[in-house]
């Protein structure tokens, strides 16, 4: 049996750990730069604050109802997530961290003796006691069915927060109540194509012949179908696959129109992305940049994108800056008020297995000691920059309502009276 442990309104729950005064108040958390709502406590959901809604659209109404708002504090969420995942790893020999607030657990073996439901309740109460994060736990014979169980808990707001789908009858009932769009791996586009086939619920999909789905749709959907019927196709991946790409993108605090400011901001993104790349011990050979204006304004939507393939895989910030600074002027339009930009590094190769270049003199002196030193200085809080970087002159990140770093900063420890 497989359990899916899912933290309830994770970011909002993190904000509440050290703030007992927020226990029953609506809490929302905004995306980087305070753009959109990315997490809502159940009280905020009850005020019809939708996921992903731009903050400026609901701000007035929400605050008037006494709602509390936070900018995102990923330092805190990351540390709490680390604690939750560590507890889960103590409770099962096989766990797969699926996202910052979800993990799959192998229960077979452990649960044989005490039963899945009891095991689920033990996990739930341990996480809650140790980390103060409320979780729900869906349990089923496959990952996809564990997801269905988790959806059922959410939909019916089951007070036990644990649901086991293990017999034919309970699985059939749950599948009939699960709209196809809520099935793991089915997006809105796929749901529309399935609607043509009269597939509206998970049950409808599970009744179709797998070969037909494989032919007409994909192997992936065929696997989903088999999993809905209790046939395990997806294993718990307890070894983390290496990342395939790194993206750094932000909305700006203010609109940006001139090229030199845009330049500085994007160079900052490049530096951050390259730093992440080095921390993963990877090199990459593809660099992409995008710049755009706001969706929500009256002017025409402008989107610029460009991609460059390096002749050799690199992890040197200066290599990336060189190509980015060549691409940027080609995309820039002087009449556009830019509000968001991003940099993506992809086509990775492990830095220890990269071949040497044939003509090293063509290649910038691969000075990895310099990059290592820069990363170290930045890590220990002595920021150093390359000259073209933004270097704090223009901070694109707006996070006005960020909470303290309660668990990672000596100056931010929670106070007790």
């Amino acid at each position: 049996m497989i359990a899916l442990v899912d933290c309830d309104s994770f970011y909002a729950s993190c904000e509440r750990i050290f703030r007992p005064d927020l226990a029953h108040k609506p809490v929302v958390v905004l995306s980087n730069n305070d753009g959109c709502v990315i997490a809502r406590s159940k009280e905020a959901k009850a005020l019809d604050i939708n996921m992903g809604v731009p903050w400026f659209k609901v701000k007035k109404r929400y605050l008037a109802k006494g709602g509390v708002v936070f900018s995102s504090n990923f330092t805190l969420y990351g540390d709490i997530s680390r604690r939750v995942m560590a507890v889960l790893k103590m409770m099962s020999p096989r766990t797969e961290i699926y996202s910052i607030d979800e993990a799959f657990l192998e229960l077979s073996g452990i649960s044989k003796h005490i039963g899945c439901e009891k095991m689920g309740i033990t996990i739930k109460s341990t996480i809650n006691k140790w980390t103060k994060i409320p979780v729900r736990i869906g349990i089923g014979p496959t990952k996809t069915l564990a997801k269905v169980a988790s959806y059922q808990i959410k939909k019916y707001n089951l007070p036990s927060r644990v649901l086991v789908l293990n017999d034919k009858h309970s699985i059939e009932k749950a599948l009939k109540e699960t709209p196809i769009i809520k099935v793991w791996g089915v997006g809105s586009r796929l749901a529309k194509r399935l609607a043509v086939e009269n597939v509206e619920t998970a049950w409808d999909l599970s009744r179709l012949p797998p070969e037909y789905i494989k032919q007409k749709f994909s192997v992936v959907l065929e696997r989903t179908l088999r999993e809905l019927n209790g046939e395990q196709c997806l294993e718990i991946e307890d070894i983390q696959p290496t990342k395939k790409q790194i993206m750094v993108s932000r909305s700006f605090a203010h609109k940006v129109n001139d090229l030199s400011t845009l330049h500085a901001i994007i160079n900052d993104f490049v530096a951050r992305a390259a730093e992440k790349l080095r921390s993963e011990q990877q090199k990459c050979s593809s660099v992409s940049v995008f710049i755009r204006n706001s969706y929500f304004r009256k002017e025409e939507y402008e989107y610029g994108f460009n991609n460059f393939i390096l002749p050799y895989p690199s992890d040197d910030t200066r290599d990336f800056l060189k190509v980015v600074n060549k691409m940027l002027p080609l995309m820039y339009k002087s009449n556009v008020q830019y509000s968001k930009a991003g940099v993506m590094l992809s086509s990775f190769s492990d830095s220890s297995t990269v071949q040497d270049v044939v003509f090293p003199e063509l290649h910038q002196k691969c000075n990895s000691a310099l990059m290592k030193t820069m990363d170290k200085l930045n890590y220990y809080g002595y920021p150093v920059y390359l000259a073209s970087q933004n270097a704090g002159r223009f901070n694109p990140i707006q996070r006005k309502m960020v909470s303290p770093k309660y668990t990672t900063n000596w100056n931010d420890l929670p106070l007790v009276r």
């Binding site: 007992p20 226990a23 680390r82 604690r83 507890v87 006691k129 309660y406 420890l413 929670p414 007790v416």
Partner: protein, 143 residues
């Protein structure tokens, strides 16, 4: 270029000669007489923290617990995995506040301050109250 086959060489006649290879460098000076007796340095985390994932740090504000040697500005280590019992010093959420008090289960459930100027807080069932964790240590820095 022409190649000529001369026959097969028998390697078995010459068994490999193994030369031991040490990866560590050899120091030319006198070896440290302590090297065989080295132990890990004393680690305060190991001493103070039993269960790291469930331990949170708090800073004390005020003197409500002064007689339990918990002063204004002290650092508290709070283990949320431990079960609070009668007389445990705990961090609790009450009336929307975080407080540090001694938990008393007899004769009545209450939170007691270690300072005569503070009144005990009596706990009744319909009160919103939660014990966050048990205070396992206090650190007060003098210099």
């Amino acid at each position: 270029m022409k190649l000529k086959y001369l026959g097969t060489m028998l390697t078995d006649d010459y068994p490999p000669f193994e030369i031991p290879y040490f990866q560590d460098m050899v120091a030319a000076g006198f070896p440290s007489p302590a090297s065989d007796f080295m132990e890990n340095p004393i680690d305060l985390n190991q001493y103070l923290v039993k269960n790291g994932v469930a331990t949170f740090l708090f800073r004390v504000s005020g003197t409500s617990m002064i007689e339990a040697l918990i002063d204004d500005g002290s650092l508290l280590l709070v283990d949320c995995s431990m079960q609070a019992i009668h007389n445990s010093i705990v961090v609790a959420k009450i009336h929307g506040d975080l407080v540090c008090r001694r938990l008393c289960l007899r004769p009545k459930y209450c939170l007691i301050a270690e300072n005569k100027e503070y009144q005990p807080i009596y706990l009744d069932p319909d009160m919103e109250f939660e014990i966050m964790g048990v205070v396992t240590a206090v650190i007060h820095q003098f210099a």
